[in-house]
Symmetry: C2
Subunit: 319 residues, 2 copies
Amino acid sequence: MNVRHLTFRLLQVYVAVVRSGSVSEAARQLHLTQPTVSQQLKRLHEAVEEPLLQTSRGRLSPTEAGRELYRASREVLGRFDDFEDYLTALRGGERGRFSIALVNTAQYVLPRLLGPYSQVFPDVEVTLHIGNRRQMLTRFERQDDDLYVFSHPPSLAHALAGRFLRNPLVVIAPHEHPLASRERIAMSELVGERFLLREPGSATRMMFESWLQEHGLSLGPTLQMASNEAIRVGVAAGMGLAVLSEHVLPPEHSDLVILPVTDFPIESHWQFIIRRDRRLPHAAHGFLRFASGHLDECVPPRFVANELERLLTAWELIH
Amino acid sequence: MNVRHLTFRLLQVYVAVVRSGSVSEAARQLHLTQPTVSQQLKRLHEAVEEPLLQTSRGRLSPTEAGRELYRASREVLGRFDDFEDYLTALRGGERGRFSIALVNTAQYVLPRLLGPYSQVFPDVEVTLHIGNRRQMLTRFERQDDDLYVFSHPPSLAHALAGRFLRNPLVVIAPHEHPLASRERIAMSELVGERFLLREPGSATRMMFESWLQEHGLSLGPTLQMASNEAIRVGVAAGMGLAVLSEHVLPPEHSDLVILPVTDFPIESHWQFIIRRDRRLPHAAHGFLRFASGHLDECVPPRFVANELERLLTAWELIH
DNA sequence: GCGATGCATAGAATATACTCTATAGTAGAC
DNA sequence: GTCTACTATAGAGTATATTCTATGCATCGC
């Protein structure tokens, strides 16, 4: 048998003939003429090199080989029906997978979106990659992921960005810090204190440092820790001060205070970044739609800064 | 997705590409040029209307949809590989089914052939239809079965026949019958006795009656019973005499004797009959080959009259 | 940067598929 | 036996598939 010349169409015709037991009836069902169906059968017969149909009691019934071919055809056509269903689900964002690359700080917030999303789309596999800004930039350059979350996006030549969340950087101090009760503090009063800083390559550190530069200030002694958590605990323990994303602080933080420093908080926004030159999986698209629609319910309203509709519109324009 | 234009060939090409992760490599394996494979991929892509492959780390890897298509393709191609295996087995007579229509008397012998055959070909389904000659003739006319066993075949205009077994008809009497010890008996001496006859339409009865007619004899009182077994037991019980196939008698029959009647036994042969105008299933063909080769081992040699080789040759000539 | 390798596209030739109309043959129904 | 419904075949036109060569373009390694 030469499987090479088998067409799915041919199997569809054959199945219709076996089911109806009649060439003419199958032709009517398929909106074809009877000779067309006859010839398809002839072709199929030539491909299989075995009698497939016999006429018995006025009806066409499959031979032994014909019956097995019918089974095989049904299974094969059914398998591709399933595949079509799969495609439909995939296109609707109900299935599939996608990956998001996050800067460290965002890991405190993104689960608030991903949790509800996964409830609604349990068949989508989401992979999270978390690291500092520099690591995420590398992933971005290598096009490793489908979505990226940055505060300050890299060059937008190959990417689209849409803000979704405020990310205020605040100065924190231990609860018992002498300036904790002051109504207004200038940063220049603090630069003598020891600051706990994230590692170079961290977005938080980068933003703080450029703020300092803009204001013509530079820090005194510092201490470097490669984790927001470690810094937060360190500050509470009296190791020094720090500038951290407000999202890093627990809702209740009796051992810490946010100092009312002038020109603080440093305002920044997290944004979803899509590469223009990489296909966006349907599921990732679905996630952005979900985020756009349900952001208000997932994070405290004062942080919401939803520009995702604009992002989605822009993305749909170039696709 | 338009499944109508999918070819098995297309899936084969796609599978080769996914497996090798390279268009060029797949082309080499398939003995095609690289652009040919590229274009096949393009066609497939147009049929599915979804990206299937992406290039990552120098290799082509399937997208989410591509992976599912790969799975579906593998399954579908595998299913038709199975179908090809099935066809091979079918053609070799190792699988499939066929039906045999038997005159009653032959049911005592045919299992001796079918038993060993089924041991060797356990995957072949055999259906036996048993009845008297008239019923089997009706089935023959309707082309209900693949093989027929008759003593006297119907018109051979649409059929081929091949003898395989002697079927001698003998006169039986109860063990204590007064003539049981005679060395030679003329049928004319017996016609006054009561004979147990099969029903009209029975081959045995037909043959006996035409024998009588040829010899210018006619029977006296008769008793009709529609079963060889009933007749055998009836004769043993002293109800009368009978003419039966020797095959109906058990190997040991102390309560019966075969009377040495002149011009007896009536010689006849069972034959396999194949309709010329009906396809012979491979399995039925295989059974005839088996019967031809193993007849000697399956039935007592004195009954064997194997003309099946001739039948098979004749059949192969017209196919 | 430059060559090697691999993929995509264009253009073209051939084969095959797909479908039709017209017609002939077949088998069951009354 | 004739009629009818069904199937098969012939012939033909269009569309599509299949495959090639030639060429351009991208990417990777050195």
